[in-house]
């Protein structure tokens, strides 16, 4: 009937936008406010989106700009980290996987924003270094160094060494953790 409207695609990116916002803000209420602002900005500036390019990258760029400009406005380096992010899996630390996950979150929230962001973009959302660099408006080398420093800090905080790493990524453990995460959701 008509050419596909990029606005109709926005809804598909909401889960990823929320996940990225949560990693940046570490606060579920703030994260959803950021996503809401991003959605409105994207909708009203949709003509600036180049059809055929990566919409998720475009949305993440708006989201991170929203986050950093609000951070500048509030002049707060220390964000409001809420318990939801660090404690959501900690009610019953009866399994190694869960404990490690909680430890990981506790370590992750301590990283500087720029390192958390680089790690999530490259390590979790699957963006290439080049894409992440473009989204963050920095050189590829800067993203690489943020990722490396972030990984090094996490390894240090979690006391990861090569021997421990084996059991942490053990398939069976991952499967148990995955099923618990799913089963534990409302």
């Amino acid at each position: 009937m008509s050419t596909p409207d990029p606005k109709d695609e926005l809804v598909d990116h909401l889960p990823a936008m929320r996940a990225f916002a949560m990693s940046l803000t570490r606060n579920s209420a703030t994260a959803d406010d950021m996503v809401q602002d991003t959605l409105v900005k994207a909708w009203t500036n949709i003509e600036k989106f180049e059809v055929g390019t990566n919409m998720r990258a475009w949305l993440f760029t708006i989201l991170r700009n929203t986050y950093y400009s609000s951070r500048r406005k509030t002049k707060r380096e220390v964000a409001d980290v809420d318990g939801v992010f660090t404690e959501s899996l900690s009610q019953k630390p009866d399994h190694d996987g869960r404990l490690q996950m909680t430890d990981f979150r506790a370590a992750f929230v301590q990283l500087p924003d720029e390192q958390r962001e680089a790690l999530i973009l490259v390590g979790a959302s699957g963006f290439a270094y080049e894409e992440a660099a473009e989204m963050c408006g920095v050189a590829i080398g800067t993203i690489k160094s943020r990722v490396n420093r972030g990984r090094a800090k996490l390894a240090e905080l979690m006391h990861i060494n090569e021997n421990e790493a084996m059991e942490l990524t053990d398939d069976a453990t991952m499967a148990v953790v995955a099923s618990r995460v799913n089963g534990g959701m409302r």
Binding site: V11, M101, V181
Partner: protein, 55 residues
């Protein structure tokens, strides 16, 4: 990527944890407020909508 065999194993651990943190929010149901917001934005856009208060 070709870097896999050269990566120290600790990186895989960290990336697996990063993915878990990310995926956990990813799998959540999107709150209704976003669907409502999109519907609202759509309504504002609709041609012939007299209330032109988009700004």
């Amino acid at each position: 990527m070709a870097q896999d065999e050269k990566r120290p194993r600790g990186e895989d651990t960290i990336d697996a944890n990063l993915k878990r943190v990310y995926d956990e929010t990813l799998k959540e149901d999107v709150p209704d407020r976003f669907k409502d917001l999109l519907a609202q934005l759509k309504a504002q856009d609709a041609p012939g909508n007299g209330s032109n208060n988009a700004k």
